[in-house]
């Protein structure tokens, strides 16, 4: 959304608070602005980014570091492993990553070619994978990505068996956390000749992509689709199934039954390039609430750590990585955070954000294609601002920091590998997060809804 220009506060005029005016909690200024905008334009608000409302999140969890009953590892001497193998259930060539932080699917089209290249460079330098998005694979991206996951989406834009065979893994996308049950949207400004060509669309149209796959629905048919993709790629590539978090217990179990090698679970804080605001803020469940349900499904099927779980949606620092893994994830994926590492919402462009009616740290009109940072745009001049080498280096730095931070916490908990973190290493700060994450409220043995004691 675009910030409405606030009334300028002159030196003498008292603020509303000073006047004793009370703002409605129900109809606050943002709400009033939304209603006015809807009434004026007749179009719902479309924006990028993920859910902006406050949600129970990883910040509401804390680790129990070692002291007497447990022994910590030495920070700079004793090894804490970070490697992860993804997709060794059926695929003859699983992915072997150095770090458990991957780059989530973001399309060329939503992002500039330079941004895609930078993601590939950063991920490769840090020893992890990156992922295509709706709209196909670009040579820049394939060239710069040591491990590239090829998304297989409902729209099948640019879907090509040659690229399928070039990929290191295939991710069948059912949905994403920002909009479980919704299709994609790319507005005309970003459908340049190259993007249109890759998607077989007329230049400059508003593109609405499908929410259901065109040739299968449901897990029974997905099983047949997975088998087809395995046949085409001669059973070499890991097949991921990505779901937006809404009913993750059932969806995870069904993905496993349909034959997935890896389940990718995206919580509602996960980002999007362009979706209706009402969808982003009101559909899906928080990442924190989604993970234990998915892990429970995997455990009940005897598939935890055999079918790997990648969690995304609001991962920002190494503590988030460690917490997601302690709750049972094998790896995490970052999208929004990766774009910020590249330079999205950089205060250096403060003046330009202001011209767009936004501000650094608030800019979310990714659909407009006018990103001053040159990331969520197809404008050649703006795109040229992003140096893919320098941006890739920033991303690699950030990925290494995430990993080292997660290791710091894991060592403090006495773990020689990040995968040895477990829910019992965590406590919750709030009743909500305790119920959702299924870890006890700090200082108690109480997990609301669990019916028993913590441990």
């Amino acid at each position: 959304m675009t910030l409405t220009a606030s009334t300028s506060i002159s030196g003498t005029a008292p603020s509303p608070a000073e006047l004793g005016l009370r703002e409605s909690a129900t109809f606050d200024r943002a709400t009033i602005s939304d209603i006015r905008r809807a009434a004026e334009t007749g179009i719902y608000d479309i924006r990028g980014w993920g859910a902006k409302r406050a949600l129970p999140h990883f910040d509401d969890l804390l680790f129990l570091g070692a002291s007497m009953s447990r022994y910590p590892l030495e920070g700079y001497r004793e090894k804490c492993g970070t490697d992860v193998v993804l997709g060794d259930r059926y695929a003859s060539r699983p992915l072997r990553l150095d770090i458990p932080v991957t780059i989530a699917g973001m399309s060329f089209g939503a992002l500039s070619a330079n941004a895609k290249e930078a993601l590939g460079r950063g991920a490769s330098a840090a020893g992890t994978s990156t992922t295509t998005g709706d709209g196909g694979m670009t040579p820049e991206e394939r060239g710069q990505s040591r491990n590239l996951v090829y998304q297989y989406l409902p729209s099948r834009y640019g879907m090509n068996p040659d690229d399928l065979r070039k990929a290191d893994a295939i991710e069948i996308v059912l949905g994403q956390g920002a909009k479980p049950g919704g299709g994609g949207m790319l507005l005309g400004q970003k459908i340049t000749e190259r993007v249109a060509g890759m998607r077989t669309l007329p230049v400059g149209i508003d593109q609405r992509s499908a929410s259901r796959h065109p040739d299968w629905t449901g897990p029974d048919d997905l099983e047949i689709k997975i088998a087809e993709l395995r046949e085409i790629t001669d059973w070499e590539k890991p097949i991921y199934v990505k779901i937006g978090a809404s009913r993750p217990y059932y969806d995870t179990a069904l993905a496993v039954k349909a034959g997935a090698d890896v389940v990718v679970l995206d919580g509602m804080q996960g980002g999007t390039a362009a979706t209706q605001q009402v969808f982003i803020e009101h559909v899906g469940i928080p990442t924190l609430a989604a993970i234990p349900q998915a892990v429970q499904a995997l455990q009940e099927l005897g598939m935890h750590r055999k079918v790997q779980l990648i969690v995304s949606g609001g991962i920002r620092n190494g503590a988030d990585v460690a917490k997601a893994m302690a709750l049972g994830a094998d790896a995490v994926a970052i999208g929004t955070a990766a774009l910020i590492a590249l330079g999205d919402n950089d205060p250096a462009y403060a003046d330009e954000y202001a011209k767009l009616g936004s501000a650094a740290g608030f800019y979310d009109d990714f659909q407009d294609g006018r990103d001053p940072a040159g990331i969520s745009t197809q404008d050649p001049e703006l795109s040229a601002r992003l140096d893919p080498v320098a941006a890739g280096r920033r991303l690699a730095n950030y990925l290494r920091v995430l990993t080292m931070e997660a290791q710091t916490i894991a060592r403090a908990c006495g773990k020689a590998h990040l995968h040895h973190l477990e829910p019992e290493d965590l406590v919750a700060l709030t009743v909500e997060s305790s119920a959702m994450a299924r870890v006890p409220l700090a200082g108690t043995q109480w997990i609301p809804g669990a019916g028993g004691t913590g441990y």
Binding site: M159, L164, I205, D206, P214, D215, K225, E231, I232, T233
Partner: protein
């Protein structure tokens, strides 16, 4: 004599490898097809409705299947000439890039879904969502097609010698559709269009390629009214 018989008569059987899917697995078949060179010929007996038969062909080979196939037969075909002497299940020739896939019987739903190139001929009827999200391939159907066919079709051409079901060409982009029979209803943004000489010529070429004899003058062309290309709140009832 159908076109298949003609092709058969013209091609010697020598140098043909045979698979019997009551004995061989689909994996054996597809592994062999993926390693085959241009010009090689293969036949498949007892397909028994199995899935993914001939999926991922990437050479200009010929594959003849004697019987009914399941889902995704000839999926993502690149260059192969695949003949199915029977019915095809869901998503035959889905995402085909090039080559020819011919179904002598009927095709289930989503035939030719998202296909980018090549020619899909269905001599019988095709069920729902034929040519959904079509991206450039040509589809010729000898009989009728089911509802929501050519949904969101982006490019390529579709010929229907029989009737079309409900909501033909809903949210269509630049695909051209030719229908000889009746259309139960048109989907959002799909309209009948004028048949000009270039359309009759294009249609005659497609019918000839499919080996079907019809008079192009008997067909009506359908395509996008292009009113939904840019979101407009006044069209909200169409979404």
């Amino acid at each position: 004599m159908t076109i298949i018989d003609l092709v058969e008569a013209a091609t010697p059987a020598a140098g043909t490898s045979s698979f019997d899917l009551d004995a061989d697995t689909v994996r054996d078949l597809n592994r062999t097809l993926h390693r085959a060179a241009d010009g090689e010929r293969f036949t498949v007996g007892n397909p028994g409705g199995r899935h993914s038969i001939g999926a991922g062909i990437s050479a200009e080979l010929a594959l003849d299947v004697e019987g009914h196939v399941g889902y995704y037969a000839a999926g993502m075909n690149q260059g192969g000439t695949v003949t199915i002497r029977g019915n095809a299940g869901v998503g035959v020739a889905e995402n085909m890039m090039s080559g020819t896939v011919r179904v002598a019987g009927d095709a289930s739903q989503s035939a030719g879904a998202t296909a980018h190139g090549g020619l899909l001929v269905i001599e019988g009827n095709a069920a729902a969502r034929c040519g959904i999200s079509l991206k450039g391939a040509d589809i010729v159907v000898g009989g009728n097609i089911g509802h929501m066919s050519a949904f969101m079709a982006q490019a390529g051409r579709m010929v229907v010698c029989g009737d079309a079901g409900e909501a033909l060409g809903d949210s269509i982009y630049e695909t051209r559709i030719y229908v000889k029979g009746t259309v139960a209803s048109l989907g959002a943004d799909c309209v009948a269009k004028e048949m000009r000489d270039e359309h009759r010529a294009e249609l005659a070429e497609l019918l000839a390629a499919a080996g079907l004899e019809h008079n192009p003058a008997d067909f009506t062309r359908y395509g996008s009214a292009r009113t939904l290309y840019h979101f407009n709140v006044d069209n909200s009832s169409a979404y």
